[in-house]
C-alpha cells in the first residue's frame, strides 16, 4: 500500500432529474459500475472503462462520463500514463499488457499527405456517368502473356495464370480470430464481405462451422500455433495466409488466455478447453527465408496449387528486403501490418514502440520490388491504422494493391476503442465469449453496418478517383504524383518518393 489509490481514470455521473430508473445502465455494464439502491442508481466510477455502452442505451441522456476528472500535476515528461505504468510494475514486477493498437502520440504520416484533383488541364471524371473500376485482383501477375493461333484461327492463351482473388473493392477485413472476437462478430464481418464481394481473414483460430457458408470470402490463416489447421480448413479458404508477424506486436507470439478458451473456441482451435492457446514467437519450421519458401510451397502442394498464399509480416525496419524475400518464396501477396495495427492484447512496450508506420513500409516495399523487377510477383496488402477512405487512397498511391481494415470494422459494430478487449467483458459483444454479451451483437444489423462502411468508403474512393481524372484503381496504384507531402522533411519525402506541396 505504499503507492496507494490513484485518481480514477473516468468519473461517471447520473443526472438524477433525468434518470427514470430504468436500470438499462445496470443491465448493460459488464464492468460493474452501476447498482440500484432504493430510488437511486449508485456508481463505482473506478470500474468504468469508457466503453460508452451505458450512454448508448440510456433513454434520457442522463449519464455523463468525464476522463481524468482529478488528474496528477501536469508534466510533459512524467505523464499520468508513465507514472501509472511505473506504479503497476513497481507493485507487480510484471510485463504490462494493453489492448487495441499503438497509443503513443506519434505524428500520423497519412495526415501529412494530401491528395490531388484535376482543374482545367485534365478534366475530372464524373463517377455518376462514367464507370469506375474499383475491382482489383490479388495475386501473382505474369511478366508477359503468350498466345498461339489455334486451328480455327483464334488465339489461345498459353501462359499459365496463377490463381488470384477477385476483389470488388480494395478494402478487405484483416485477421481477427474467433477467440479474440466473438462468433457473432465474425459472422457479421463474414456476411458483410460476402455481400460486398471482398474478403476477410479468419485469424489463427480455425474456421467455425457457422462460417462455412461464407468460406469463399474467407482467407484462412496459418500461424505459429497452427490452431485449427488441417487439410479441410486449408481447402475451405479462398486463400491461405501465413502469419509471421503482427504490427501490434512484431517479433513475439500470442497467448489466448485459458479463460477465453470455451467449448466452442476449443473445438474450432482444436485444443483442450481452458488451456492457454500459445502461439510461439517464430514458426519453428521457419528459421530462414528458404524455410518460408518450403512452407509456402507445402501449402500450395497440399491444396493442389489452387489457392493463393499470402505472407503477413509486421512493418519493421528492413521490411523492404524481407518483402523481396517473400516475393521470391512463391507467395502470391505480402501483407504488411504497420505499427498502428490493433490487437486484443499486447505488451505495451511492443504495441507502442516496436515497428514502423504502414505509410513508409508500403512505400519502401513497393520501391524495392519495382527496383528488383519483381513487383508483379506479389500483391501488396497494407494494414494497421487505416481509418478512412482517404487513408486507403493514400496508401494505394504509395504502392499498395488493397488494404485490410480491422479496428474500423469493429467501430462500425459499436466498438468505442476503449482498449479493454483483454478483459473479455466487451459490452458490445465483440471481444468477449460470454454468451449474454455475445447475444447483444445482432449479425443482421452489425453486418449491415460493416457493409455500409465499406460501401461508403468505396463510393468516396470512386469520387476521389473521378476528381483525380482516374477511372481505374489500377491507375492509382503507386501513383505518387497524386500525393504531396505537407510539412514532411526531405528524408521522409525521399522514403515516400513524394514531392512536397507546391512542387
Amino acid at each position: 500500500m505504499i503507492i496507494g489509490s490513484r485518481p480514477t481514470k473516468f468519473q461517471v455521473a447520473i443526472d438524477n432529474d433525468q434518470c427514470m430508473l430504468c436500470e438499462r445502465c445496470i443491465e448493460n455494464c459488464s464492468y460493474g459500475v452501476f447498482r440500484r439502491d432504493n430510488e437511486k442508481i449508485l456508481i463505482n466510477s473506478r470500474n468504468c472503462v469508457a466503453c460508452h455502452r451505458c450512454i448508448s442505451q440510456c433513454p434520457r441522456d442522463a449519464i455523463i462520463i468525464k476522463e481524468r476528472p482529478c488528474d496528477y500535476r501536469s508534466h510533459p515528461v512524467w505523464t499520468a500514463q508513465v507514472k501509472e505504468n511505473i506504479f503497476k510494475q513497481a507493485e507487480s514486477g510484471k510485463i504490462l499488457l494493453g489492448g487495441m493498437g499503438n497509443a503513443a502520440p506519434y505524428p500520423i504520416i497519412f495526415d501529412q499527405l494530401v491528395l490531388d484533383a484535376c482543374q482545367i488541364t485534365n478534366p475530372s471524371i464524373d463517377p455518376l456517368r462514367e464507370p469506375m473500376e474499383l475491382r482489383t485482383y490479388i495475386g501473382k501477375k505474369p511478366k508477359k502473356l503468350e498466345f498461339v493461333k489455334n486451328a480455327t484461327g483464334d488465339m489461345d492463351l498459353v501462359t499459365e495464370i496463377a490463381p488470384n482473388l477477385k476483389v470488388e473493392t480494395p478494402i478487405m477485413i484483416g485477421h481477427m480470430s474467433y477467440g479474440a472476437i466473438s462468433l457473432n462478430a465474425q459472422l457479421s464481418l463474414a456476411r458483410a464481405v460476402s455481400e460486398v464481394g471482398t474478403f476477410m481473414g479468419t485469424g489463427e483460430g480455425g474456421l467455425h462451422k457457422a462460417l462455412h457458408p461464407y468460406q469463399n470470402n474467407m482467407i484462412v490463416q496459418i500461424a505459429s500455433g497452427r490452431f485449427g489447421v488441417d487439410v479441410n480448413y486449408l481447402e475451405r479458404g479462398a486463400a491461405i495466409e501465413i502469419k509471421i508477424g503482427q504490427g501490434a506486436k512484431p517479433g513475439i507470439g500470442g497467448h489466448l488466455p485459458g479463460e477465453k478458451v470455451c467449448t466452442d473456441v476449443s473445438c474450432t482451435r482444436m485444443i483442450p478447453e481452458g488451456s492457454d492457446a500459445i502461439s510461439p514467437a517464430p514458426h519453428h519450421d521457419i528459421y530462414s527465408i528458404e524455410d518460408l519458401k518450403q512452407l509456402v510451397l507445402s501449402l500450395k502442394e497440399a491444396t493442389e496449387w489452387n489457392k493463393p498464399v499470402f505472407v503477413k509480416v509486421a512493418a519493421v525496419h528492413n521490411v523492404a528486403a524481407i518483402a523481396a524475400g517473400i516475393a521470391r518464396s512463391g507467395a502470391d501477396a505480402v501483407v504488411i501490418d504497420g505499427f498502428r495495427g490493433g490487437t486484443g492484447a499486447a505488451p505495451t512496450i511492443f504495441r507502442d514502440h516496436v515497428g514502423i508506420p504502414i505509410e513508409t513500409a508500403v512505400a519502401a516495399v513497393d520501391a524495392k520490388l519495382r527496383k528488383q523487377g519483381i513487383r508483379n510477383e506479389v500483391s501488396i496488402i497494407a494494414s494497421g491504422g487505416i481509418r478512412q477512405s482517404a487513408d486507403v487512397a493514400k496508401v494505394i498511391c504509395l504502392g499498395a494493391d488493397a488494404v485490410y481494415i480491422g479496428t474500423a470494422a469493429l467501430v462500425a459494430m459499436g466498438c468505442r476503442v476503449c482498449g479493454t478487449c483483454y478483459r473479455g467483458l466487451c459490452t458490445w459483444g465483440i471481444a468477449t465469449q460470454r454468451p449474454d454479451l455475445v447475444a447483444r451483437l445482432n449479425p443482421d444489423e452489425a453486418s449491415q453496418n460493416v457493409k455500409n462502411l465499406i460501401d461508403a468508403w468505396t463510393l468516396e474512393l470512386a469520387e476521389f478517383m473521378g476528381a483525380a481524372g482516374i477511372n481505374s484503381i489500377e491507375s492509382l496504384r503507386g501513383n505518387r504524383d497524386r500525393l504531396r507531402g505537407y510539412m514532411l522533411d526531405q528524408s521522409m519525402l525521399d522514403v515516400l518518393d513524394v514531392k512536397t506541396i507546391g512542387a
Binding site: N85, K88, Q89, S92, K94, I95, L96, L97, G98, G99, S224, G225, R226, V229, D230, V231, L234, H255, P257, G258, S266, C267, M270, I271, P272, G274, S275, D276, I278, P280, H284, D285, Q294, L297, S298, E301, A302, T303, E304, W305, P347, T348, G419, Y422, R423
Partner: protein, 246 residues
Amino acid sequence: MTQITINAEGMHYTPLNKLIRQAVREGVSEIILDNVMGQRFISDGLIGDVKITINGIPGGDLGMFMKGPTIEVFGNADHALGNTMDDGTIIIHGSSGDATAHSMRGGTVFIRDDIGYRGGIHMKQYEDKRPNLIIGGSARAFLGEYMAGGLVIMFRLHDDTPYAEMGLASGIHGGEIFIRGTVEEWTLGIGSSAREATSEDMEKITPYILEFSKHFNLASSFLLNSSYTRIAPVSSRPFAGKYTWE
C-alpha cells in the same frame, strides 16, 4: 488389394504427388515409390487409407497435413517430417531432421534412429486426436518445446548416459514425454517437471514399445524392463503469471 510402383527417379514433387493422389482416388491400397531422392512434400495433405512405401530418401515435410495414410521409409528422412500431420503413421528406418513432428495433431511417427533439433515442438491434442512421436535413438535440443498435447517416447537405444540436451520441453503446457533412463536436471526447460515413470505410466507406453519393436524387428523385453523419466507440464497455463494490465 491393389498395388502400384512408381519410379520417382528425377521426378519433381508436384507430378509425383499428382500420381499418388490419382492412385488413391482410383482405390489403390499400396503404393511403392522407388528411387526417391530428396523430393519434398510427399503425401502432403493426402487423405485416405493407403500404404506408401518409400525406397530412398524423401525431402522435407514428408506427410505434412496428411490425414490417414501409412508411410514407411527405408532410408533417412529430412526436415519437418509429419509437420502439422493430422492422422496416419510414418515409420522411418533411419534418422530424420530438425522439426520432426512439428505441430503434429494426430497419428504416430516412429523413428528408428535419431532426430534433429526441435523435435515435437508444439504437438497438440484435442479429444481423441492425440499425436505420438516415438524415437529409437536420441534427439537434439528443444525436444517438446511448447508442447500442448500428445506423447513423445524416446528410447536412446545405444546410450545409457543421462540425457543432456538443452531446452527440453520448455513452455510445455500439455502432453507428456518419456525418456528411457534419466535426464540431467539442467536440461529441463521453463514450465516442465520430471519424475520417474510409474507402473501406470509404463502401462500407457507399453503398446507403443511393442509397436516400435515390431516395426523395427527388435526384442521388446529390454525396453519394457527399462526405467523411464516422465516430463510433463507444471501447469496448462505457463504464462498466466507473467503479465499485468495497463
